[in-house]
């Protein structure tokens, strides 16, 4: 018999494409979520936070140098873990434990 080894960690995360736009969104996330951590993989970044990630339109715009619609997040996101607690014109919030 082989013993099962398992260690679990709870976090919210978002996987972003390694593109210019993805990188700008990543920088905005790191600015607004100072405790977030990034893991790099071929082709994508995984940004994790123990609790909550916020993506703010204004911050992304400051890195992009142009207007950015929060719906454009669709073009850089690959995947995520958590729940879209909010998604409006100003910001996107990903966290666990939200009701409908």
């Amino acid at each position: 018999m082989v013993a099962v080894e398992t260690k679990r960690e709870r976090f919210v995360s978002v996987d972003l494409q390694k593109t210019e736009e993805g990188y700008n969104v990543l920088r905005a996330i790191l600015k607004d979520n100072p405790d977030a951590k990034v893991d790099e993989f071929p082709g994508y970044y995984k940004v994790k936070h123990s609790n909550k990630l916020t993506i703010k339109r204004e911050t992304v715009e400051s890195f992009m140098g142009r207007p950015w619609d929060t719906q454009e997040f669709n073009l850089v996101i690959i995947s995520y873990s958590g729940n879209f607690a909010e998604w409006d014109d100003e910001k996107i919030v990903i966290q666990w434990d939200t009701h409908m």
Binding site: E9, F11, P42, T70, I78, S79
Partner: protein, 512 residues
């Protein structure tokens, strides 16, 4: 006077919800006849919250942009003969499995979500399902287009839709989706949006596609990540749907739990093919099946998602603990099956190179050397008359009645044996690879007694291009019916390998 500016949420609400009306000339039940028989109770469809708020106009715009990027990359790859810069042509065997096994499922998902969009009485989730139906058509088509270029130069890509309907290992994904689309709209959406999209597609699309990037396959990486970006909308639909159903009525809870239990195991068994692709078929590897399982399933799903669902009275899937126990065995078992039966498959397999065995031993310190390495040593000695200096399993395997994979899943408590389960139902015997599959059968035996099991169909004489002229002609006639041409056998005796060597002899000379 100009109207006040509405927020995205308010606007979307009017865009979508206000469109519905209560019919008066016919009964609502006649418009949506499939909404009640599953036993799901809905008190108020308006409680549905749209997480993504995508309008048609935004959909056209962003999806056209995503595809513009994808086709630009694909065209560039084709023009530059990008296939020659792949890490190794062995890599493409995982893409063959993908296009034969996954692409037709994307198509089935497209039609399945059209079903949900047509037949759920709630306009909110129906809208989300409709966009997903569109997305799934997209995925089918970008994958076909990516595969089209490889098809021109390599084997195994030429006939994926026919193969999906016929070839033995493709009955695994096919039966999975056939199971979902024959269920009612609520089960379908729980099965696919929740269990598959939310829990499992990450394994398929994120680490595996990262592997594609690592092996030089930019079109696959692009379609993978681009598809997965739609997928994140789908995951949200899945989560919202399940929470919505759970909140609507307490009677829904046990029904949903049963579906989660069923579809976790069904999907997990299906995804085991990805384990073999990741650990064995990528010449350059990003992470192991076990590592991805820990990250995407144990952390994100068990520790994240299911803790979130506790408050609704939902517990983790029934056989999840078994999946965790299997994580050090699964990919090895599945690759060993694929390896053994490559004489009847539209992809190649090979004995891992020594450095690859070392990687496997390092990633699986408690299982690879102990239970798997010796098989490849023995495979070099146990030659058969078939092409390739190695062993093939010259016979037909016993298949699991539910997942349809050959019954080769190691029992972690007895690692020299495979799990074997069976039940007798109405005078007939049925065999299963696991407690999970057996449990699924016992819940709905009437469904699984119908299974189209490739091995049995061969024995019934239903899988021959022409009647075999003798015992030696049986397999050739099956392969012909499968439309397998020079796609099978060991990689090192394949045309792919021969061509790859030829093309790389003195391929590029750089003149400054």
């Amino acid at each position: 006077m100009a109207k006040k500016k509405l927020t995205l949420a308010q606007k979307y609400h009017i865009y979508t919800r206000g469109l519905d009306w209560e019919p008066t000339y016919v009964s609502k039940k006649d418009i949506y006849p499939y909404a009640e028989y599953e036993g799901i109770k809905i008190k108020d469809w308006n409680k549905w919250e749209d997480p993504f708020r995508m309008t048609v106009e935004a959909y056209w715009k962003y999806q056209a942009e995503k595809d513009r990027r994808f086709y630009a990359i694909l065209d560039g790859f084709i023009q530059n003969q990008g296939h020659l810069t792949l890490s190794d042509a062995r890599y493409l065997n995982s893409i063959k499995l993908f296009i034969q096994g996954v692409t037709p499922l994307e198509y089935m998902a497209h039609r399945g979500f059209a079903f949900v969009a047509r037949h759920l009485p709630g306009p909110g989730p129906r809208t989300a399902a409709f966009f997903q139906s569109m997305d799934e058509l997209r995925h089918t088509q970008i994958e076909v287009h990516a595969g089209s270029n490889f098809n021109k130069y390599y084997d195994g890509f030429h006939s994926m839709t026919l193969m999906h309907d016929r070839v033995w290992y493709l009955s695994v994904p096919k039966s999975y989706f056939d199971d979902a689309v024959t269920a009612g709209p609520f089960e379908y959406v729980t099965a696919i949006s929740f269990s598959f999209e939310y829990a499992l597609t990450n394994l398929l699309f994120v680490p595996f596609m990262s592997g594609a990037a690592y092996n030089g396959d930019t079109p696959t990486m692009t379609f993978g990540f681009s598809a997965q970006s739609d997928e994140s909308r789908h995951m949200t639909l899945g989560l919202q749907v399940v929470k919505f159903l759970l909140e609507q009525h307490e009677d829904n809870v046990p029904i949903i739990q049963r579906w989660i239990d069923k579809w976790w195991w069904r999907g997990y068994r299906l995804t085991s093919l990805v384990g073999a692709m990741m650990d064995y078929m990528l010449p350059k590897r990003v992470m192991s099946w076990k590592e991805s399982f820990e990250l995407y399933i144990e952390d994100q799903i068990l520790e994240g998602l299911f803790r979130d669902l506790e408050r609704y009275g939902i517990r983790p899937p029934l056989h999840m603990e078994q999946s965790i126990k299997e994580k050090e065995f699964l990919s090895h078992d599945v690759y060993w099956i694929l390896f053994s039966f490559t004489f009847a498959a539209a992809f190649h397999s090979w004995i891992p190179k020594e450095e690859e065995m070392e990687w496997l031993a390092e990633k699986y310190p408690r299982t690879f050397n102990q239970y798997y390495r010796w098989r490849y040593e023995k495979a070099k000695q146990a030659k058969t008359p078939l092409p390739g200096d190695r062993f093939y399993y010259i016979g037909l395997p016993q298949l699991c009645q539910v997942c349809q994979i050959p019954m080769g899943f190691t029992d972690p408590d007895d690692p020299n044996n495979f799990v074997q389960r069976y039940v007798e139902y109405e005078g007939e015997i049925y065999h299963f690879c696991s407690d999970g599959c057996k449990w699924i059968f016992e819940q709905e035996p009437e469904k699984y007694v119908q299974a189209w099991l490739p091995v049995h169909e061969i024995y019934k004489g239903n899988c021959f291009a022409e009647p075999p002229k003798g015992p030696d002609d049986v397999v050739p006639q099956v392969l012909k019916w499968y439309n397998i041409q020079t796609d099978n056998f060991d990689y090192f005796v394949s045309e792919d390998y021969k061509n790859w060597k030829e093309w790389h002899k003195d391929m590029a000379t750089v003149v400054v």
